[in-house]
Each structure stands twice: as structure tokens, then as C-alpha cells.
Symmetry: D2
Subunit: 341 residues, 4 copies
């Protein structure tokens, strides 16, 4: 479904080339200050900036508050934030109707929704919807900042095309006239012990659930991750050093038994190469029922991973906010407003 | 929470050294035949059999139906299945009370539940609860068998301690007097196109949610997985060959845009080395607030990964059953009973 | 929470004097035709028309589709429909800030949300939000029309101020310079046998859950309702006449054991008199902490019950659509679009 | 579905003449003391005691804890409580197989579950399952006792067969050799202001949802209820007297705008006459497809309403516990156990 979260519940909606994309947030505590400015930095980060490898499309995305904000603060009622779609050239897509793009959701969306799906530019499956995730993430991050000394969520790119020198990785793609994948890591400090709800809502369960909603993610690992499969138990176990739960090593990545253990939360995700590559490829033509050569003409990202860190931060912040509300570490009201008594 | 699934909803309960563990299933279609025999093979597989590396503990687990079965068939009312705990020597655990075992949930459970948790043998965090998952999985597999030509779910161990020769991997652990991890792969054939519910309930999202409820899992990857991060787009994209959606390659692992594409579903998980290693290790003593040497005396698995395949099959079957019900590919009644009209 | 439904899930948002109110619908089957015209009749009915007893405020409410509709049909992605608020004179309300209106949510909203609530005209608690319910109801009714020979939902006013002659009831209020309540009945034909999900999602449970979300409702009864408490069993039981399940009488109101029995669904609700009465009343003044005289000056409904039937139809249609999807009587796609193959 | 509640979530299961009935509770705070004795009084009350009008069947119901209790306290893991079914004479029911009892769920259950339902004595639709509700209610009441000065929930019978003198009402039924209905009222003191979650989880919405899960309920009304439909607004509005929110009158029954207002919660429900009446009645015979005369021979309640108060208290306590957890008025741990530090 298009909603996620138990207490801090978001619903995202919209299509790439429809009128708008947006998010509804139900369960946001009342009293959180909120302004358009709060969103600008993360929205800008999502565009991938002036880096090589991201498209030059200028979206000028500004959040439009349709409900839930009053006098610059959240009211406790559901928030609705819209982003209008501009500069959409649908005709580019209409002519591709008969040819599902390889690596994209065109084919499966068509089968699932009986041909009624908005197919323009991926429609509801488009990466465009991540702007709604980012907006919800901004609000979640502001809530996380109220917990203890703050709970900063920071994601960064570890490698592009197998290279930790990211320029080098992008150059690979440019040279090959192709697209390339990458690995992104997320780290969170300041989490209290005890988040995560056995048996099914382990920290890893709910994080991975949210993470795999981001388009193009192919894997996730916590702490030492896949490398743990090759370690001995005595190597992998993290020795607890004191009653605060601090461990010398952090192979567990901050989660034991599905519960946060007070150490830094660490996980990594694999981002596949952008499906829309300039290279020629084979795909099916529905009209002819034959395969045909296909290649993408327009502007497209060389490496979608460049845009992922801020989206990953967003979904991580959403999940942690929900777990902190469940554990009653975030209150239902942020302070109390001076009232006329 | 301890429940999972939207339409085929399971709740698991119990503790390692309590009276019982079990599962409640709400939403199971009526009319499915069910007998104790249906469960024996998978329950036996979970024990790890006579292989090196699993504990000799004989559990003789037989499912006890407490509700929801009548005349050998499911009734449409919730099923409750219990497994009694036998042969539990709690005293082994009581004396360890002050010493949270490294790599186990002892420490976090204690902090989360204020000291009231059943700490014996991991309590509710124990791998013992996976017998309840396996039981639910047996039922899900029987439902999957009713879809089309059947939807077989098969998991197997790919490597132990980095070795594809599993005996060799276990020998590593035996030689080192330590425990070891492994990698398990799951494959599912026969899935229809169109499973998965955008935006948040992608096939990967719901599968990974369920998978990370299994103790000791540290990572999951779909199709080409982490290796995709180092591929070019033109390499990674799977060319659609015909209108059935068949693709030449299967780098996507059967899921595109979060939706099943009719090809084989393929994913792998990383299993950490068993936390209970015979090696001496440092941990905290709560009474003294100092670190102390700790080592496990009793019987314990060398490699928990050996027990994982049948559990992985179970959670996979649960997730797919739920998605198939959502997509109305499994009916609410399996046939109609001859009625006295 | 602000969402309702398991498979056909609506989220409503907005405030009386904010920018807009609206609804998001997740789980609407793809392929349903939808146009602005579909909504006009029910939106008009909600205004109470030209009858005495409703306010002359002209809202000119037109639904604005923000997502989920493409080429005049639903896409299977979430629908978002907005209604802009116009002609709102907030200043009327700002000066009343210190005086919670008797019978309204002003006091409790203030306590619950710590003073951050949008207090203008009831904010998120306003009857204004029922326009979003009505819009969702229009879509649900169109889905119900696809089931069998159609499932028409019809609500009507039974009495106003104790009078079945409604003009007479309204005149009572006019003469008393006060407001008045009423009773509304809802009837649904064409429901299949078997809707309702034991144990907690009986037809009555989910209907009453939705109905009590409508402001000003104080009671609900099914079939013979409260009068059943004074009947003998032999009087109340409905004799089944044939294998279609038809009963001679319908004291059960179409629901037995929480499950629809194929007869007409019948239930009634009590609507309290409009809280905003022109009569002088006592209430608290938060600034002085003393009671003071309060009376409503502006335009207000004499009898809110006049607006309720279309809202009651809407929530009833929402509930039944959800139950029919659960029972797989409504498919996930309405037909299949001619596709280019 | 068979589960209810967002944070304090219960799942009930079992059949009247199956092996057992029971309840699973997920989300119960850790550290609550719990013993078999806690349950005895309410279980006894459910039997209707030695009053006329209840069946002499001695059930000797004792709760059996299968999970979630350790050293006499809840652990934070899910609780499972079983009640074994004894003294069940299934043969009484088997011979009635072809004849759905009038007023019972026999007919609809058969249609819904395709003939696979456990039809003996109503199976999963039986009032027998209310013992599981009562057990969950005992735990909820213990949690309510920890809030402020306590939140006592008290239900009582207002009338039987239209008589406030209950003996007189029962005598009516005895004289008529028939069964009779009644009205039950529930009152709760000590609730804080602010419970209830707009827009759909109003206090009335969640209470009525739970209440209509109790078999035989036909109506519910809050505060003045249906009588409000005949009142003027100036009569119905409750004047707020002071900043604590106390009102002079309580026509609202403690709920305004769906939110608790700090006054006593008051609501009433209508209980239909017991369906199993000794009177002869017409019903269908499935084998012959003809109507035939039917009458109940065995022991049955004259007036099921006599057993309802404790069940009504239970579901009310469950709902309020959930709302108090949502509002963070009940903590996730009841105290902290002395731990070995």
C-alpha cells in the first residue's frame, strides 16, 4: 500500500507527469515549527546538484502546505504537502507507449493495472515520488532533533561503479556511454537502547521495508552485513564494555536481536545502475509482439545513486520517528503553546 | 509487533523456556486440508538433521491444533497451533542472569522490558520461535500449491564460512573451536506477474520485513544484489523476450519496480555466525559493572545457517500468500464442501 | 487516526478555514471512470439545498483531482481529491479564541493538541470535512454499482425534532429560536451473503466505526435496534424462507452474527441538535477562568441532520466497498483497457 | 478480522465445541502482575451466577497462561491465554446440521465459509468466545487502575424486557416460555481529557467497533443518545464550568467531537432476546429446501443480557487501554524490576 508507519504514518501519492506528487502525514505531534525554508536544503540535495551524472532538469520544487500547519506549527491534524509537476513533456513518453522500457516498471505496471496506469515517465513508479519522501523526512528529522541530544541521520555514497573515488566511477560510465550503480551508507547516532518491536518489527525489518520502497535498491546489509557470513562467532560478537551498553566493536551495526543497542546504527544499500541508459538495448514491442532495439534519447541520470543519500536519510528518519513514538520517546505534543488562561 | 501480514496474518508467541511457543493465523482460507503429517518434514528440516554443526537436542516437536481446524480442514476461523517446550533445563540459564551473553538480545531485552523479560535461553528472542514460523509456512506452502501450476518455494545454503563445500566450511569452525556464518538463497517459480503493492509494499519490502524477523540475519539482496552496484545499466537490464514477460537474463531476480515480473524470484540472505560460541569472550557483569570472561558450556549450533533454509522458505511463503490474496489469486475458500442441500 | 479501511483505504485531511480539505484513497481498483460531474449531485445534497434549516453559504465545491486519475479513469495508484476553502471569514472566529463554544470540540481539541490546533471554525473537527467523505463515497458508490445488479445505498431523514413531518420539526426550532436534532435511516439492497469478518469486523462494527466519525452522531441501531431489547426471542427471530436466505421479517436489519444475510441492510442513527444555537448559553472564558454568556451570531444550520443523509450514504458505501473487496466481490481492476498488442 | 487494537492488540480464537477458546495480547506493557486469581471474579460474573435466566452449565473456566507471563508478571512479549472447553455434547448439535437455527449465524457462516465452518454450537460465532474477551478485559482493567487515581469501568443492566425491575422482566419470559432482551449501561470515571483520535478513531467509533463484536448487540448510544434527536441545541449543550472541563450536565456522555472531555463516559447498548428460544419457530431445512418447525430443547439462557455487563466492561477496558497507550498515559513498562546492578 501507499502508506507506511504505525504512529507516524505517511501516505504518498502522485505521478511523474501528472499534476502533482505529495505526501500526507498522519500522527505528527502538534507544535513542531515548520516553514518552507526547512525543506530547501534536502530538496536541493535530492537533485544531485551540479555533480556530473545527474540530469540538468530544474524542478524548482517548493512544498505547498495544504493542511495541518497553522501559524507556522503543526496542529496535530494530518499534514498534506504537495509538489507541483512542471516542465513535463509528456509527448516524449506517449510515443513510447508500445515499448516497455527495459529495467523499468512499464511492463509490470501495465499487467497489474490492466492498462489503466499512468504510463508517462513511469507514472506512480517514478523516482519523482521520492521528493515526497524527502519532504516527510525533513519533518521526521526535526522530530528526531528533539530526542535527547538529537538523533542525526547521515547517509553518504561509499562507492560508484566499484570506485570509492566517485569522480572515477562516474567517468567509467561517461566513457562507456552507459549508466552505473553505487553503494550508499547510512549512520545514525544518539539512538536510545530499546527501539524495535519483536518479533516482526525488528529495526532491520522496518528499515528494510521502507528502504526497498526507494526505486532501484537491490540489497541492504546491517553492520558487518554479508561479510558476517564469513566470520567466526568470536570475531563477530561485540563485547559490551559498560552498563550504557557501549561495545568496543560494532559488527552488529547498532542492532542486536532486532533492538537498538545504543551504539551507532550502520547500514548500507546497493543501488542498481540507472535503467534508462543511452546504450542500445533489446526490448519487446507490444504492438508487434516482437523484440526491437531501444535506446533512451533524453536527459537521464548517469548514476541514480547520487540522488539516493537524502532519500535514504528520509526513510530512515521516518522509521526511527515511528519507533521513538512507539517507545514514547517522542511526545504527542512538542511543548505547549501559551494559551489564554 | 508480533503479527505480520495484511490478509493472511500471523501472530507468533512464546518463549524458549516457557510453557510453549505457537502461532495464530487469521485469514486462512476455509477448506484447506490439514494434518499433523503435513508439518513433519519441515519441522525435521528445521532441526538441521544429523548434519555436523547442529545441536543434538531432540525436540520431538508436534503441532497441536487448538482452534480453526474441523474434520481435517481449515474452517475460516483463526488457527492456533502450539508447540510445547520439553526438556528445558532452566537452571543452566538462571545462573547466567547477571551476565548478558555477547551477540545475544539479553542486554537489549533487559533494557527494553525493564527487567521483566523472560531471560531464560533468550526467551521470546530465541530461535526456538522459528518453529512457529515453520508451522505457519507449511500452511502457506499448501495454499501456494493451489495457485496455477503451483508456486514452489525452495531455499538452500550457498556457502558456509565462505566455502561452497559446506563440509569444509563447518570443519573450519570445528578446527577453530568457534562458530561460523553462511549465505542462504531462496528461489520461487510460478509466481504470476503483478504481485507487490506500490509504493511501500514492494515485493522486496515485505519479504525483507519478514526475513529480518528471523534471528541472525544481517543482509538481504535481490537478483544480482550488491553486485549490481558495480554493473553498467546495459548489463543489468533484463531484455523482455515475449508478451509473457520472460526475460533472457534475470538480474532483477524476478522483481521490477517492486512488482513480480513473472520470472523466477531470487534472493539471498547473510546469516551471522552463531552468537553462542565455545570461545572465551569478554562481556559485562551487571552485578559488578565490570567486564568478565564468558564462554558457553552447553550444546549449541556451530552454524545456525544450517537451520535457516526451511525458516526462510516459511517466511517467503507467508509473504507470497498474503500478496496472492491481495491480488485475488488465492480465493477465500478452497473449493466448497458438499453440503446437505 | 485519519485513515479508515483495510483494502479501500481513505485518509481525510484539512481544516474548515485552512487552505483546503481533501481525501486520499488508496486501493481503489484501476479502470473506474471518473469525472467532476460524478460528484456534483452528492455535493449538492450535502449542502442541504434550499430547505429551511441549512445555511445559505454557497461553497461551490468542485473536486480537484491531484493524483490517481488518467484519461478519465482511475489508475490503481492513490487518488487525491482536494476541495478549496473559499469565502472563509476567519476574523469571526479569532475573537472567540478565549471562549470554547459549548457542544463543540474547541475545548477538547485545545487540551489534546496543546493549543496548537487550528481553532478557526472547528478546524479539523469541522463538519466541513464531510465534503471529503462525500467525495470518497461517490467513488465507492460507483464501485458498488459494479457488483451484481448493483448495491444502491439510500439514506433519508425519518424525523426532525421528533416529527416525521419534517417541516413541522424545523418550525419547532424556528419558533424556539433554537436548533434541533433528527433521526436518519440508511437502507442498502443487493448485498451478497457473507460480508463481515468475525470476530471484530462484524458489519455492525465497521459501519458504526465509520458512522461515529461523522460529527454530531449520538447513537446507531441495526434492524429493530433498541426496540429489540423489549421483544421476545420468538418475535425477534427472522424465519428463513428459502435457500437464498430470504427472511419473512427483517428484525435483524440484514445482519446476523455480524455477517450480511442477503436481506436488506437497515440501520438508523441519531443526530444531535446543532451545537451552534442562537440561544444564549453559559460557557467558560479561558482568560478570566469564569463562566460567561455566549451566543452564536452568524449563519448556522438549524438542523445539521438535514445534511447527514448523503454523508451517511458515503461512509456506508466506503465500508461496504471495503468488505466486498475483502470478500473478492469487487475485482482489483474494472475491466481491462484495450492495450496495444 | 479477529484482532482489535492498535497498540494493545488482542486476537481471539477458538470454537464453542472445539478444543479451546483463547486470546493473544500483543503490546501489553511489561511488569504487570498477573495471577489466575485476578480472573476469577469476572469469569464468574460472565456466567450470570445463580440468577434466573442463565443456564446451569458449569464451565469451571480457568485461564491457562501459555506465553508472556514470567515470575507472576507480564514480560512485554505477547500473552496467550487459553480456556479449555469441557462438557461439550457435540451430538446435540450434529443432528441439527441441516437446519440453521433462526436468529443464529448458522446460515451465514455456512455461506461464507463454504460449508467448512465448525458448526457445532455456533462454533467461532458462539458467545463462548466472550470468555476470551473477559480475560483480556481483566488485564486491561489492571492497566487502567494504574492511570491517575484509577479508571474504573462499570456496566450494569438497566432493564430486562422493558422492566427496570429485573425479576419482573425475567418473569415475563418465563411466563411466555420465551426469551427476552435488555439494555445495559456502561460508565467510566477518571478518564483524562483528550482520548480519541480524529477523524476516524473517535471514542465512539472505537468503542462501538468493539461493542458490536459482542454477540446479540443491536444498538449503542452515547450520553443522551437517541433522545438527543428530539432535543433543542440549548438543552443538549453541556455548559463548561471550569478549566478542568467539568460540565454541569452530561448529555454528551463524556465525549465531544469524538474526544473524551474529562467527564464521566456514559453509553448504553441494546441486547436482543436470546435467539435460542424454547418456542416453536419456522426455519429452513437445507436437505428438503422446505421450511420446518424448529424448537430448542436443551438448556439455554432466558436472557443473554444478564451475561453482558462483564463482557461490555471488558471491551470498554480494552478500547480505553489502547487509547491511553496512544496518548502515552500508560507507559510501556509498569515500573522497573530490581535488576542485578
Amino acid at each position: 500500500m501507499n502508506a507506511f508507519g504505525r504512529l507516524f504514518r505517511i501516505t504518498i501519492f502522485g505521478e511523474s507527469h501528472g499534476e502533482s506528487v505529495g505526501v500526507n502525514i498522519d500522527g505528527c505531534p502538534a507544535g513542531l515549527s515548520l516553514s518552507v525554508e526547512d525543506f530547501l536544503a534536502d530538496i536541493e540535495r535530492r537533485k544531485g546538484g551540479t555533480q556530473k551524472g545527474t540530469t540538468p532538469r530544474k524542478e524548482d520544487d517548493l512544498p505547498i502546505f495544504k493542511s495541518g500547519v497553522f501559524n507556522g506549527r503543526t496542529t496535530g491534524a494530518p499534514l498534506t504537502i504537495l509538489f507541483e509537476n512542471k516542465n513535463t513533456r509528456s509527448t516524449d513518453y506517449e510515443k513510447q507507449r508500445a515499448v516497455p522500457r527495459p529495467g523499468h516498471a512499464d511492463f509490470v505496471a501495465h499487467e497489474k493495472f490492466g492498462g489503466y496506469e499512468d504510463f508517462r515517465g513511469g507514472g506512480h513508479f517514478s523516482g519523482r515520488l521520492t521528493v515526497a519522501l524527502v519532504a516527510a523526512g525533513v519533518i521526521a528529522k526535526k522530530l528526531l532533533a528533539t530526542v535527547g541530544a538529537g538523533v542525526p541521520v547521515r547517509a553518504s555514497i561509499l562507492e560508484i561503479g566499484g570506485e570509492t573515488d566517485l569522480e572515477k566511477g562516474l567517468q567509467k560510465a561517461i566513457d562507456a556511454k552507459d549508466t552505473i550503480g553505487g553503494i550508499v551508507e547510512c549512520r545514525v547516532e544518539g539512538l536510545p537502547i530499546g527501539l524495535g518491536e519483536p518479533f516482526f518489527d525488528s529495526v532491520e525489518s522496518v528499515l528494510s521495508h521502507a528502504v526497498f520502497a526507494i526505486p532501484a535498491i537491490r540489497g541492504i546489509e546491517f553492520g558487518t552485513g554479508f561479510a558476517a557470513a564469513r566470520m567466526f562467532g568470536s570475531q563477530h560478537n561485540d563485547a559490551i564494555e559498560d552498563v550504557s551498553g557501549r561495545t568496543r566493536t560494532n559488527h552488529a551495526g547498532g542492532v542486536v536481536g532486532g533492538i537498538s543497542n545504543g551504539n551507532e546504527l550502520v547500514f548500507r544499500i546497493a543501488v542498481k545502475p540507472t535503467s534508462s541508459t543511452p546504450k542500445e538495448q533489446l526490448t519487446l514491442n507490444w504492438e508487434t509482439s516482437e523484440q526491437e532495439i531501444f535506446s533512451v534519447k533524453g536527459r537521464h541520470d548517469l548514476c541514480i545513486a547520487l540522488r539516493v543519500p537524502v532519500v535514504l536519510e528520509a526513510v530512515t528518519a521516518l522509521v526511527l520517528t515511528d519507533l521513538l513514538l512507539l517507545e514514547q520517546r517522542i511526545p504527542r505534543r512538542i511543548g505547549v503553546r501559551e494559551i489564554p488562561r
